[in-house]
């Protein structure tokens, strides 16, 4: 299972996180069983300037700054492919 945590801290939520929450419904059918999408409280990434800008998400623990649907899809497709390769 691939773990997708969408930060719903107030800053992330304000700056795009709210729209990313819709992503779960929009995931392609074949990914839905592979990805566990969760809204999580503030990860404190927004308070640090060296990590980039909000909104933040975590994909299998890997932090993605300035997250957009496209960025998440791109990384997800790599992870899905890798997971498929292991099987």
């Amino acid at each position: 299972m691939i773990d997708l945590e969408i930060c719903c801290g107030t800053t992330c939520y304000m700056l795009g996180g709210a729209a990313l929450l819709e992503l779960e419904k929009a995931l392609p059918e074949e990914w839905r069983q592979l990805v566990d999408v969760r809204a999580v409280p503030c990860t404190d990434a927004c308070a640090r300037e060296d990590l980039g800008r909000a909104p933040f998400v975590r994909l299998n623990g890997e932090l993605i700054a300035n997250a957009t649907r496209e960025k998440i899809y791109l990384r997800l497709s790599e992870l899905v492919a890798a997971a498929g390769g292991e099987k």
């Binding site: 719903c8 107030t10 304000m14 999580v40």
Partner: protein
């Protein structure tokens, strides 16, 4: 995130709140436009300098200034505006302003024939034009602008998509023709016509229409330890993560003394509006309209005055909630929080409301203060408002609540509900027909925003 303008606006608000909380706002505010757009950063307008100039005006609007007036003095530093705002916190009398430096002066809306035109044999554009404004010269369609009424029929029939209509988004969005270019070619609002619906604010792609905010007044009141009560509009339930219980705790965490659901006011509006409806019908009146949407009431006052007698006299949920707050905390400052620009105007005119802010500003306040909504405990709401009152935020919600209230009590009077789910350029004409008794229905609900308040211009999530 729906667009870059929204993102920048919110980032700026969050930054201002952070600096204010640290106590460094006065010291850093003049540098803020440069900090956001350093010399070699990406820019969104023609250059970093233009971006910085507009950021300065944006900060001024955030302090409640009227950018249209203030842009006469470009040299006045932001910290001086801040000092004035803090020492003499006058409520902005008009909640909207135009930043001339931000306005792109979009070219007049007109029909253009592009090079996609092949000067075809059938020429449906010529035949569809009701004014005979199109003819073909040298195998290319030509518009006679003295005849063209921009109806757009030619756009629809061209088989090559060769005809386009250039737009002026603010003018196209304004339902009352209140925004036009002035002699300098930049947008200006005619405040005799403006109904503060906020449609120009939402639609301007250059983000040149700005709200005159009271955020700094709220911050100053919080800092000075004043007793503030937050009155939260019903649409909040669809706007923040974690539900209103957590949201209310978050509001208290930044220093609000109490939080009250405006939906409790909506219960009183429902009850009294239902009574008023029965009374009016018994008197032989043919129509009553709702009055909770401020932009609609302004529309009637300014553009359809003959309908004014039909508008319900029952106060809005915001005002009733303000009264409840006054009873509970007579010495407190009442701060209305909603998705609306027009409510700022109503708030300024209401004795029960002292300040108004938007969901966007509330979000920025919580973010800048470092309050995470999701990790808050549930706020003990003493008595949650009933569902029909909370649904005031949705189109048809008011009608449903009144219908529900009337169940079994209306005798032989039947409510025949009609509604406007959002107003546009045709609304004033239609409302005039309602005033003249030419249209069916005896209860008319009008919401300026599509979907109701949940679609408000200052909501966080646009559906």
């Amino acid at each position: 995130m729906s667009n870059g303008a929204e993102r920048l606006r919110r980032e700026l608000m969050i930054r201002v709140v952070r600096e204010f909380k640290k106590g460094t706002l006065a010291e850093n505010i003049d540098r803020m436009p440069v900090a956001i757009r350093p010399r070699h950063s990406e820019f969104s307008r023609c250059c970093v300098y233009h971006d910085r100039a507009v950021l300065k005006y944006r900060l001024m609007a955030l302090m409640g200034c009227d950018c249209r007036r203030e842009d006469e003095d470009e040299t006045k530093p932001l910290h001086e505006y801040l000092k004035e705002t803090m020492s003499d916190p006058v409520r902005p009398e008009r909640p909207l302003t135009v930043c001339a430096a931000g306005c792109d002066g979009c070219p007049e809306s007109r029909i253009n024939i592009t090079t996609n035109c092949r000067g075809c044999f059938a020429r449906p554009c010529v035949f569809s034009c009701p004014k005979g404004a199109i003819h073909v010269e040298d195998q290319h369609a030509v518009v006679d602008y003295s005849k063209c009424i921009k109806c757009g029929k030619c756009l629809q029939v061209c088989p090559f998509n060769a005809i386009i209509k250039t737009k002026v988004p603010c003018e196209d969005a304004c339902p009352v023709g209140a925004i036009r270019k002035n002699e300098f070619g930049v947008a200006d609002i005619d405040f005799d016509k403006c109904i503060y619906c906020g449609k120009c604010y939402s639609k301007c792609p250059f983000s040149a229409i700005m709200e005159r905010s009271e955020l700094l007044r709220v911050l100053e009141a919080l800092k000075s330890g004043k007793k503030l009560v937050a009155l939260v509009a019903p649409s909040a339930q669809f706007q923040f993560p974690g539900g209103i219980g957590k949201l209310f705790s978050a509001i208290a965490a930044v220093g609000f003394f109490d939080v009250i659901e405006v939906a409790l006011g909506a219960e009183l509006t429902t009850e009294n509006e239902a009574k008023e409806f029965i009374e009016r019908m018994k008197k032989g009146e043919k129509l009553m309209t709702t009055s909770c949407c401020t932009a609609y009431v302004e529309l009637v006052k300014r553009h359809v005055p003959q309908l004014l007698d039909r508008v319900s006299d029952t106060p809005s949920p915001m005002r009733y909630a303000g009264r409840l707050a006054r009873e509970k905390h007579p010495d407190a400052i009442n701060v209305f929080i909603g998705p609306c620009i027009a409510k700022r105007l109503e708030a300024a005119e209401s004795e029960e409301i002292d300040m108004a802010m938007t969901f966007e500003e509330l979000g920025a306040l919580l973010a800048g203060w470092g309050v995470d909504i999701m990790s808050q405990p549930e706020w003990p709401i003493p008595r949650p408002a009933i569902v029909t009152a909370r649904n005031f935020a949705k189109s048809c919600g008011v009608t449903e609540a009144v219908l529900n209230e009337l169940l079994g009590e209306s005798g032989d009077i039947k409510l025949d509900g009609k509604f406007f789910n959002g107003i546009d350029a045709k609304s004033a004409k239609l409302l005039a027909l309602y005033a003249a008794g030419k249209l069916p229905g005896n209860f008319l609900e009008v919401m300026s925003c599509e979907g109701g308040c949940v679609g408000g211009p200052c909501s966080l999530i646009k559906n």
